[in-house]
Amino acid sequence: MYVIVVGGGKVGLNLARELIRNQQEVTLVEQDRRAYLRIEQELEHAVQYGDGTELWVLERAGIQRADLVVAVTGDDEDNILICQVAKEKYLCERIIARCNNPRNLQHFKLLGIQPAVSATDLILNLIEHEVPGHGLVHLLDLPDEKLEIIEVEVIEGAPAAGRRVADIELPDGSLIISVLPRGKAGFVPKPDTIIAPGDEVLVVLDPGLEPYIMAQFSPNGRPD
């Protein structure tokens, strides 16, 4: 696989290193002269100097034969442009963009730049996962398949607390796929499994059903 990585910061350099270690062919593009010279000591011919948003720089890096273009500069507008020309001008099949400011994710979506990876969002999701009492965590979003998997904590006094799985009034298009009792191993429930307060449950659902599901697992229909 031939991969072009644009942006030789911490993300780009480590990515290039790992890909090379995994026997992939890589060209890293870095526009800062000093950073380029430093990286060149290590990566030698696998790094090129130039502004990766200039078409001739991408062409010199061999974008016409790239299997994957990864844009991980510190500027979202640059990452968007690199991926847009990679996809639409050079017909590169796979792109991955870094989104520095989560508020810019909407621009990536608008222009069809997917997947866009936001470290801030990833860490926020992890914090939600770690902070107790923060009712709902999105574990997986599959927008194309129109499916989500969420993790919900069962709060004392909620409609579902103390009931059998079969009796919990979940909307069509949702299903409890796992129960994670506090401090014990998770398991796939049977219809007569009792859901206890303090348990966490994994639910697969159609997007948009979260409020109905929260209504079953929280006393007031909301997290906390």
């Binding site: 200039e54 078409l55 001739w56 507008e77 222009l111």
Partner: protein, 145 residues
């Protein structure tokens, strides 16, 4: 016509002033509050007294575009110093807000040409400048000294 100019540099401020003089409603968005001085320079009254609008904000922030009136804009001019910012914000104006006329300043001739092929109205000062220089060189070479 309501003209929204993003970027009050040399190009943006000049186009904003002439659009206002031509009788259009003009709103200017720039992240630097001091860029306002360019709109006042050489004018008998201040930009606001002359009827212009000025908003401080970053071009690619939706809230800033909304505050500057992107939803009412008939003509959108992307004239910041960053080619990629202009190209992005122009597509946001076109595709998200449906602004009917979008004009983009792009300094790099290659990017300007390709995005023009994709349907953006780009203006490339470098290309125009190069053509004028070439013409001037040609004329100088054929003129007896």
């Amino acid at each position: 016509m309501m003209v929204l100019v993003v970027g009050a540099g040399r190009v943006g401020s000049a186009v904003a002033k002439s659009s206002l003089a031509a009788g259009h409603t003009v709103s200017v968005l720039d992240e630097d509050p001091l860029s306002h001085e360019r709109l006042d320079a050489g004018q008998p009254t201040s930009w606001e007294d002359a009827g212009g609008r000025f908003t401080v904000g970053t071009a690619i922030e939706i809230d800033a575009l909304l505050a500057a009136g992107v939803e009412e804009a008939d003509i959108f001019i992307a004239a910041t110093r960053g080619d990629n910012t202009n190209i992005l914000v122009a597509q946001v104006a076109q595709k998200r807000f449906g602004v009917p006329r979008v004009i983009v300043r792009v300094l790099d001739p290659a990017r300007s040409d390709w995005y023009a092929e994709q349907g953006l109205h780009t203006i490339c000062a470098v290309k125009l400048g190069v053509a004028m220089f070439e013409q001037a060189v040609l004329e100088a070479a054929t003129t007896e000294v």
